[in-house]
Symmetry: C2
Subunit: 404 residues, 2 copies
């Protein structure tokens, strides 16, 4: 293994986008060795705060390093050509899953190098899939879908790693402006504007989780039919089944279609992004719900987006332009069936160079009655639907419950 030239005490340099991991260099986020650290921020997204509490209270030694011996990925992802195309991946580290192997000599030397991606295998057992088997819509095959309804998946957890010049470029702004906004508007450390020599930032926000159905290597084969959904977190629906939106029903439908597609010789992927409430957070979301329900005329589809904007100043903060990075990490170049109606997601994917053959909206029978307001508003705003919309009920008459 070659070693890069470096000074005795200086950080290992990072050359974002380089194909050889040793030329690219490891992301070193250690907070206990300022000489080694070569990025801004701290590991583990928002969980860095809990780590600080653990250290402050004496539960964790600040110099603790993870034992990575048995942690390596269960499946190899990449490397793929997209990893090295300039500006194609700017919000995660494509080498994040293989640091224990790629940088083993540095780790042996004492560098604290941590995975920002972890890949494992799991069986998932969701009631909607069990129901689909019970009514005969799905049939267990013993391999992908087991008799009891559990489904075998490969899954990856991904922390965000931001290449600041690349992020800025994605938004059409300068690196300087981006850094100042993070410091001034989000209250982040001034190091962001002071250390221009560091180009990579570990932001205090959560990342994403990838669920893969079938052979992960086939995600990169454009001739293997790929079923996909890119899903943005909605705890109220995803976990608690709130009937005001279609988040869980659409997600579960996509899981069912991933299973069906994989059984037919294809492959499936669900990416779950931790961007609660259009990345506005749940407090803002609930404030907007109250505004919708209390406005004159009640909760009607024609006022759906305006209510969020009244509270948040914007309709959405999810910034889908960063979303396709994870698809490129997986090597995806063609999606045969995309389970999303969101035009911003679609455009972000297509503009990043991935072909989308078909978009499939949520089947109407899966839309909770109360969520008709959301769906009608979204279709009127340009969300994808193949159905003839000429006969739909006027937006002002698609109306939800009051707060009663």
């Amino acid at each position: 293994m070659t070693q890069l030239p470096r000074t005795e005490t200086g950080p290992l340099s990072l050359n974002w986008g380089a194909p050889d991991p040793l030329v690219r260099g490891p992301v070193i986020g250690t907070r206990s060795n300022a000489q080694h650290r070569n990025v801004l921020g701290a590991h583990s997204g928002p969980h860095a705060t809990y780590r600080a509490l653990a250290i402050a209270s004496g539960a964790l030694h600040p110099a603790q390093k993870p034992d990575l011996t048995l942690t390596k990925p269960t499946d190899i992802i990449g490397p793929y050509p997209q990893w090295f195309k300039p500006g194609r991946i700017v919000s995660l580290d494509p080498f994040g899953a293989v640091v224990a192997d790629a940088f083993r000599n540095y780790i042996a030397e004492g560098f604290d190098i941590r995975p920002t991606i972890a890949i494992t295998k799991a069986h998932i057992l969701v009631p909607e899939i069990v129901d689909a088997i019970n009514v005969g819509r799905l049939k267990p095959d013993g391999k992908i879908l087991k008799e009891k309804g559990d489904c075998v998946v490969t899954k990856a957890a991904i922390d965000q790693v931001w290449h600041l010049p690349g992020i800025a470029s994605r938004f059409g702004i300068t690196d300087e402006l981006l850094r100042h906004a993070l410091v001034e508007q989000a209250g982040m450390d001034r190091e962001l504007v002071e250390r221009k020599d560091l180009e990579v930032f570990l932001p205090p926000i959560p990342g994403s989780t990838v669920y893969i159905f079938g052979d992960p290597a086939k995600l990169a084969d454009p001739s293997t039919p790929l079923t996909a959904r890119v899903h943005d977190e909605c705890n109220g629906s995803d976990v608690f089944g709130s009937d005001i939106c279609v988040c869980r029903p659409y997600l579960m439908h996509a899981i069912e279609e991933c299973i069906r597609g994989t059984q037919a010789g294809g492959v499936g992927v669900i990416v779950y992004f931790r961007k609660e409430g259009r990345a506005l957070g749940e407090v803002t979301k609930f404030l907007a719900y109250n505004t919708r329900k209390r406005q004159e005329g009640g909760d009607t589809a024609d006022r759906y987006f305006a209510c969020t904007e009244n509270v948040a100043g914007v309709q959405d903060m999810r910034f889908q332009q960063l979303m396709p990075d994870v698809l490129h990490w997986l090597g995806v170049s063609r999606i045969h069936r995309l389970f999303s109606m969101n035009p911003e997601k679609y455009e972000a994917i297509v503009q990043s160079g991935i072909e989308v053959i078909e978009r499939i909206p949520i089947p109407p029978e899966l839309v909770p009655f109360e969520a008709q307001v959301e769906v009608a508003a979204k279709i009127a705003a340009g969300y994808y639907t193949p159905a003839d919309q000429s006969n739909v009920v006027p937006l002002s008459q698609t109306k939800g419950r009051d707060l009663g």
Copy 2:
């Protein structure tokens, strides 16, 4: 409405724990008016980063203020005596839901004062509850539980608001040490150590969501039977049904019991804390899964906790000592049936002055086969169970799947 004496340009002062909201003062986290801001950090937890992106990219004006006109809580929570007992609530703002009302004159003057809590009503529809109705375990009553299985709840989203001296005291450390750890270990703004005049911090971590079954006012009545679960986020199980743990099954069981208890004249509460993977995050969690599965002898209960500690340096970072704050915000002084086996949760609740009459473990038939490892390990480590444990299988023989 009285106005506190203040200088023309200085911040409104904060007197944490004061019963009169005007004496306590509003939490002002604005990043666009340094003269007004009286706390450290930024609003909306991790979502502040997305707000910075929105401003940097021109989607949002930095001086935008929310229109709070129609956002007020659907239900009044408190005030309760616990709100003003010194040190009882240190990680949320008990007045966070009523700022539009309590501080309306300041808001009219131009202060940007935002809710850190939002309270709304919802119908939740989860497949496990529908199943419980279908097999006759639950019966719709038309009020709490509707015919189709949707359940009427009041829910509250809560952002974290930290009173730093109170947080430090909860951990038995100095305010000084806490501030330094947040800056040095989590990479937060140095303002934390420089601005000792500011005692309150809005951390970049997510908060919690409260689901209330029945009359929210009765949560504070110790004679009304209260069913409760304090649940820590586990996306892999809560949403995707991973069979390696009991998170979703226990949560859904608790929801069923909250409904049953409310139908019988009681009240129920579920608090969902965004502390993914024991607050270590999902990357660390998946690394620990791989270690469990790959170790010599396979995934056995006797090695369950050691595997996480090998990777993370600690077994757990959830810091349950902050968790009871939300129960005190709700006015809870007695829990009749607590659906948790976790001794740290129990001790934190009891030590904070709340009586717990009965603890109820997850029914064995709800434990996925693969999650036997977790449950056996936890019971051996002191998790609560009323069953006679003398005949259990040895820990080394409670074994899970390999990575296959």
